[in-house]
Symmetry: C2
Subunit: 187 residues, 2 copies
């Protein structure tokens, strides 16, 4: 296996989960597309999103709240639109149906099959991006997305992003069982 070096700027994990981040800016819900998002703490559950200098950041910081919404493939164009049009110039508050849990600063997208409302816990400033780390306050889905009471990725039908190729991808076939497939290698 001959290795070749590529640009450090092209360091990405493959693939990245596509989400829509919600916040309330100047009294109105605003939404942006983001793929640099991850669970970051087991107990209590916490989520992280890394954002450049976006309009959304103003709302996250003002209200100490944000939402992580997982769109399905039918929302791909709207998700992408949220990623190419800034809330600074364009009102995106009517793009989706919006509902709220207990956090008035975390607008949740009715059309998205999974919604996570977060209270801002801490902020980490990096040279270009800011990490917003939030405590998970509520998680919503729909009955049709559950199998045995757990979210089922095939029913959620999310999509992922690859950079620098800038492509979205569906989820494919099941490849194995986690914390199980490797047992046969145990001595």
């Amino acid at each position: 296996m001959e290795k070749v070096r590529i640009e450090s700027m092209d360091a990405y994990v493959y693939p990245m989960p596509m989400t829509i981040i919600g916040a309330v800016v100047d009294g109105k819900p605003n939404f942006m597309a983001a793929a640099w998002v991850s669970r970051v703490n087991f107990k209590p559950p916490m989520m992280m999103v890394a954002l450049g200098a976006h309009h959304t950041n103003l709302g996250i910081e003002a209200n100490a709240a944000f939402s992580v919404n997982v769109p399905d493939v039918s929302l791909l164009e709207k998700t992408d639109y949220c990623g190419i049009v800034s809330g600074k110039k364009t009102d995106k508050s009517q793009l989706f149906g919006v509902f709220y849990g207990s956090l008035p600063g975390a607008p949740l997208i009715r059309e998205c099959p999974l919604n996570i409302a977060c209270r801002l816990n801490q902020t980490v400033k990096l040279p270009f991006d800011t990490l917003y780390i939030g405590d998970v306050v509520e998680v919503y889905t729909e009955e049709r997305c559950l199998t045995d009471g757990k979210p089922d990725i095939k029913k959620i039908d999310p999509f992922t992003l690859t950079m620098p190729a800038n492509r979205y991808w569906r989820v494919g076939e099941e490849a194995g069982k986690a914390w199980s497939a490797g047992k046969k290698l145990k001595a």
Copy 2:
């Protein structure tokens, strides 16, 4: 769309990219499976991984370095094994072929189609997990994984994780072009 609430502990993005984190512990390469990993800064490129209290952490902190390796589906069992067996009890240094870039603390896995060597930049302690944020120093792939000089996800053939269902997933069909598919919604 009737919404139902689920447990906050079940707050995950769908799906999560599966990686193998490398570090040198007590002079030996050690590897663990991790899916809470993301790019977190645009310029300069930085990566983040959130880890519980693992053997790997000792090496990351001692050498201020770690690696993010993206395994392909053929490495699924070995990856899972890295996630269920601790380096504290089991020597995983012979599990893969190992090579190094300029960081002696960031062991890179020869069999993985993508390797990212990181110098630890900062550490964020959360209640349960620790965020290790690193500057990307080098990125390696193989010629066979490139299309037009960029990493090609179909050639890399990575897999993703879903929790709490604990399943791995292949990447499916292309679903659209990023920063493009939403243009038709522009007024």
